[in-house]
Amino acid sequence: MIIVAKAHVYGDNIDTDRIIPGKYTKTLDISQLAQHVMEDLDPEFLQKFSPGEILVAGKNFGCGSSREQAPLALKAAGVSCIIAKFFARIFFRNAINLGLPVLEAPEHDIQHGDRLSVDIENGIVKNLTTGKVYACTRLNGVMKHILAEGGLVNYLKKYGDFVTD
């Protein structure tokens, strides 16, 4: 899958409380989550961001709580994929389990508004604005299968158990 879209860039250590404050997590209604996504960090996030666009961050994106509402809210708001220098581990797992592509590009210098072309399978991000190419850590094994099935729910619905190992 190749995604071509505009990048919205945020900084380091964006925690799950800033992605979706705890007070909004008490719901199974996904559209309600999307309404409050990133609001403590950038109150205008939802006005600026169009569905299908790409979220880019620095180090340790999604640190803090295990709340899966964080990647879910981003996915519900239309985030097509997230690129960060590295992710907090629970956020990273949760995103894959929800079928939201996450790519680690340790050396990226993507600027706000750059247009990107993202090759999820091969882990390559091209910056169409500057011409730069960033190599990303590639997903392997079971993670790749889960993402390919669109998340862990679909994966287990299909296979009934973990098929690797």
Binding site: D17, N60, V142, F162, T164
Partner: protein, 414 residues
Amino acid sequence: MASAGYTIAEKIISRHTNRIVRAGELCVVKVDGCMATDTTAPMAIKAFREMGGLKVFDPARFHLIIDHAAPAPNEKVANLHQMMRNFAKEQGCNLFDIGSGICHQVMVDHQKVKPGDLFIGADSHTPTYGALNTFACGVGSTDLAAVMLTGKIWLKVPQSIKVILNGKLSPYVSGKDLALLLCKKLTTGGATYMAVEYHGSAVASLTLSQRMALCNMSAELGAKTGIVSPEGLVLPYDYTPIFPDSNANYVQTIELDVCGLKPQLAAPDSPDNVYDVRKFEGTPVTYAFIGSCTNSRLDDLQTAAKILKGKHIATGVRLVVAPASRKVFLEALADGTIQTLIEAGATVINSGCGPCVGTHEGVPGDDEIVISTANRNFKGRMGNPRAKIFLASPATVALSALYGKITSPENESV
């Protein structure tokens, strides 16, 4: 390489899969137990059903705890709690309803997790059980749903960092101060994807409660888990301790002498923004919180009671205390600790997460300065992004409530 020994994490994971594994390998492991809370269980139950799940793999190994917003503050939460109760009844699994306490304390109090176990919790502070020489890791709801269905989880065997803390701790310097010191040294995210192993004479002398406080904040380092060496660990039952091999491979070894370490605090808005309490001494506070899975066990409450006995907190300060569990609450009632705290002006609330996560029971107002024994002080953590949160040990928090300003316990007589 072939002759290198194994870390604790590698040993425990190997025992739960069908082969001997090393750091970096991906594997599917069997779990000894798993749990979810009212923040994560509703989504997990939904995902479990969507996966086609009818029966959880083993009801005796799956626990539901209602602790994060308990009792329910509104109808939405009340309905999610009902969903958990109904699911527990249907599946015959353990339900720890409101007032039982914070998930992590409940699992330890009820011996649902033991040394050598591989335990998965749908809560980021699950590494707390590493205090019991356990490999315990936090996941989100969909991962947990997969465990509920299969009794298994996929894991990448983590690399380990060895932390050796030597020396005798000064009075009023606790496991929490050590945890904050490590946040400072390793920074948030500094141990991402890794296991942090805690060793050394300062660690060996810690009680289980203090080990839990230390291990709890491994989550703030981004670690997959924290594991405390079993040296000096006393439990009310027999167990087989798991030590690392002397030639095990570590990505990093940090050795610190903690003799003379001063009480530590994390200033707003990050748990790694750590200094000696002294640096902020005199900063006025209006809200003090003693609670959370980091510090609300019996010894934490007793420390606060000792400081506040026969005295009263400063005018204009609220002190909220949430005991870690019903067991802790009852013990603190029986020995007079609760009475002392209430006489000193504390508001004691039910056992559970309380205001730690900002959903109810004590959200701070705009521009308030809070001092708390919890583990996170991100903006908005306690429900109001305009409040500032300092994190410290129970002794520092109690003393700061007493004087209405940040105060270091380093000069207190013990």
